[in-house]
Symmetry: D2
Subunit: 353 residues, 4 copies
């Protein structure tokens, strides 16, 4: 269940404070030029200016590709890779072996498995998302051959949001600390993040994602709608709590005469209110969706912990953590969208005889 | 890709105006008493009082179980079943063979497959959800053996919503025409639906779902989080546009100190803000989530259609259709949640050695 | 686990004496002309002249296609179909409710599921192979578009085998009662089957299969070798006990200098000793393999049965059964090979970028 | 397609002369004590006394476990591991970049992927089986908790075979150079292998495998019969050409009255002719099967190679290779059987309600 994808499959492993993270990307077609600059840039994009996001752990995320690439091209065989944990400090978590932190998955892992790696959340830590980003970078190389582009950006952090009237250039997001490609909003977000850090608190936010260049006809009719697989991909990211595509929840308050996309003579629609997906299949117009993230549960304030023995403990928890996951999540949303779409790209090759 | 589930798998088939719909439910354990009353009641729940929802097609949804059940119990072998289309009128769609309706999947199917069944949307029609409800009824029989209960209800239709201060009894939903278990809201919804019908328009809405009796420890850590699979299940339902769990999008505006569930001495939390899932795994507290549905694109007003030849046509489209999919969707949300959970119930048996 | 295939997937259901058998064929590309003559001919091929094969049950195997086909072509959506059991006589098995027959799966089903359908073996009966043949016929329609042809035939029944020096025309097999396309051998087989019937005994045999027109490059490197998936497909057929490809077991006694296929200038080999598969991937030369079937365990002689209570019973078992499964198995081997190959045909579309 | 298993899944990667091999073992239950001695012993078992098997490459197969194990026990999360290629000498293959060797997969990979890693066969090399053995060792740890034991041994090499009258102790196989647990036969095999090496030739053979302690009720009825999945597992091993279970091909020459297992009062059978599987499900009696391997195509004699340009070249091929794969294959057969069975062990937990 640590495998994502139908034809293009990423099988991942790794605990936060174990030896390494890694993955096997299988089903990746042969002959794709491997762009290691893109790969490294995407991994960097997951490590935003820590000055503002927190006192977090510093990992270089040096990736080692172990197979599946030969003389600069993909072989068609599985691409195995690892990313060593170099700044792991499991000892930071000493004393938490038998305690469940609030808002974390400590108790649920214990219930599920009977035992758990209590060092920084183990497999539940967002540290594993580095593997997703690596896998997503390969997916982008494949999508790029068909001019499909995936760009995510921070849309809101707490109450600070890009004004509705502003149209942003998603492609520029990674130039901003908050990953919000609107200067004023980025500055306001940085200010908010600074304030949260002072208060030893954390905060949630939303990530928006746009896909352009998508041809019509990707996606499956019933359970594996493009929108359903995207929701699955997004809600599988740590701390995500909501997903919407096109008009999303706003569509639930609209009337049919208002929501029905109005055809243009060239076959596109006037407003693309459906967000690029009708009946679960891509329309050929840009795809857009939004993901909500809750605040990171790790905060510096005194909190209540639950002992495995049922006792309650009021205490401050050590360790290093971000103030907000959203700027990092931008790279992860992009990666998961790319993996999801590249999978449909391959699947679409079997639609017709 | 018409199969839902990992261990418990429903493989479905059927076009709206073809001979029949049906499915194969595989991986269903042996020895479960088959409750045909529950099965029929759930299929009925998908057919709310048509007086208000529309001038829609009338299908009895008589189900025939063809295998997998013997002397009142499941055999462990696949349960095959069919539901004949008895009120199909493909001829209603004559004249639409080469036209794409607005808001429908006519064009996307054409792009994907090259050909399409133009009678009432073919496989894209919500007619196929009868199979989901049948599969979900079996899943409920299995969940029922562990006292897990799944109840969905209409939370809002257009602007009419259950007041935030009201606590409803989800179990009573099916007694109300709108499937909203709050008398005043149900009445307001019926009125709104009547108004929409008069205006030959349609309207969207949201469905809420609650699961009780869920043990802690169901769900998988990374890609197959309980929340991710639920989102996948819900966003695979026709016309769904958004999903949120726990505090959902509201969580994106909250701070960690506010959102972190506060432990009680008995191991539960004070507010269950996480909605019964932490780190993708069930906590043992009630699960709750919400799904947004767009307005049905079929409306009686004159609209613009796109010809396969690129010409635009302003016309009224015939056929029979509901004014709002939400009252019907309640049964489908319930079914998909049950299928998703029963799958995790079986998967949980492999968590420990 | 009643689903066969990776991209092209057949999900099957049905007990021997239940209401019907059926299946859902998903992943079948759109636009394939549906050849119902081929479909019916293949189902007929599974019902060889009963005069010789036994006093067996007579089923017409009338198939009803319920979805996925429109105006004579595949829609790309799942093809649902059922075959009613019309000559079922569950009552023949009265008295066997609590007894385990020798050589049958009565006891293993009981151990696995706790309960079982004791009427004619339930799901363990070869009756289910009608569904495989139907699915295989569709696979052949797809393969036929690329000129790939699959032909199986009876190679031996008991000690009677096609002489090693004889080259047969596999395509003619269905014109012979035994499905052995060599007149003299067919006659000897018929005689042997007659003798076995007189003695109220049964007998095993082998089926050979040839595939021509196969392009090079189908199959996967490691676990999903073409040879591995074929073995899986064949060993999943009732009563199969062995599989070999190319030189098979004889290769285990050969030397490398003898077994290595010797290249010809045109890129083919002098002997095709590898049977059309090297490293798990098709070479473009004809594929051939062989399957061994045990004798049918149902015989008319007095035998020992085991009671669920542990008591032993010496008795004759009623019911209708064939003397040898091999003539029928020819159609099933062909169907499973076709399903397996059509799956690889689609998968091969993703090998390159 | 480089993933093996349904619930317990091994996803593997690695080329023969790339940086490393490795795998991700997912679905492995939590709480299993990890026996690294067993793991290393099994990897050693795949490296038999090279004095006799060939002048082969020397790899230590040092394995590094990167995740999924904590404080000596499995966590339930995926077990990632790598094995570095330390004695790789890709340069040995210089000059073969554009040539297809006889009996190898050079041409088929080229056809499938367009490009290939020509260093020692790339992914087609048996080097990848080290990953299978590692995965299989974990599977054995799980099976061991239920006293299920898997033991393979060399049954024949070329014409030298264990005499039919001899009963061997499979558990002792790894004490013999040839992995044949019968002293006289082992000696004859060593002699034969020496002779083959002198002649610069190679030779095939067969591996037998026995499983004891298996409970009744593992396996699935139709496509995923225990015998079918075992065949799939075995035929996926490099150089395998045939599989048989129970009486195998001999069963095709038997009569029902002879082959039907005769019940004993205690519920076992007199001869276990079915080899521990009836109707695809384990009977609780010992399982046994046999796998045929062709001779290794790499030999030192002058052979004919085919150029990508169509030209034929008579030449000797360098590189280091074994004389016979069978002694090594014993460990691989054992591993694949263990992976297959452990998967069914977990799947069996879902048979009943």
């Amino acid at each position: 269940m640590n495998t994502f994808g139908m034809i293009l499959r990423l099988s991942a492993f790794g605990e936060s404070h174990g030896a390494a993270l890694g993955g096997v990307l299988d089903g990746f077609p042969a002959g794709v030029p491997v762009d290691t600059d893109l790969l490294r840039a995407d991994l960097r994009n997951r490590r935003p200016g820590q000055a503002l996001t927190g006192s977090g752990r510093q990992e270089q995320d040096d990736i080692e590709i172990l197979s599946g690439v030969f003389q600069g091209k993909s072989l068609g065989t599985p691409i195995g890779f690892i990313i060593r944990n170099q700044d792991a400090r499991g000892a930071d978590y000493a004393g938490l072996e038998h305690l469940f932190r609030p808002g974390h998955a400590d108790d649920t892992y214990r219930h599920k498995y009977g035992i758990r790696d209590w060092r920084g959340g183990g497999r539940a830590s967002a540290r594993e998302t580095a593997v997703r980003v690596a896998g997503g970078a390969f997916a982008k190389m494949l999508l790029g051959m068909q001019q499909v582009k995936v760009h995510a950006y921070t849309q809101s952090i707490g109450p600070v949001s890009i004004p509705g009237s502003v149209r942003v250039d998603a492609e520029q997001a990674r130039r901003f600390v908050s990953r919000c490609p609107h200067q004023d909003t980025d500055e306001a977000m940085q200010q908010l993040l600074g304030k949260m850090r002072e208060r030893q608190d954390s905060i949630g936010g939303t990530v928006a994602c746009e896909v352009t260049g998508l041809p019509a006809g990707w996606g499956e009719p019933v359970y594996d709608k493009l929108s359903a697989r995207l929701a699955y991909a997004m809600m599988g990211i740590n701390a995500s709590r909501g997903f919407e595509i096109g008009q999303g929840f706003a569509a639930s308050r609209m009337e049919g005469s208002e929501h029905n996309d109005r055809w243009r003579a060239d076959g596109t629609t006037e407003q693309n209110l459906c967000g690029g997906v009708r009946g679960g299949i891509s329309t050929g117009e840009p795809l857009y969706f939004r993901v909500a993230f809750k605040p990171i549960p790790s905060i510096g304030q005194e909190q209540r912990l639950l002992g495995e023995d049922g006792a309650l403990h009021e205490m401050k928890i050590g360790g290093r953590h971000d103030v907000c996951c959203v700027p990092r999540a931008v790279a992860v949303v992009e990666a998961m969208a790319a993996l999801c779409l590249a999978d449909f790209m391959l699947l679409a090759r079997s639609s017709k005889a």
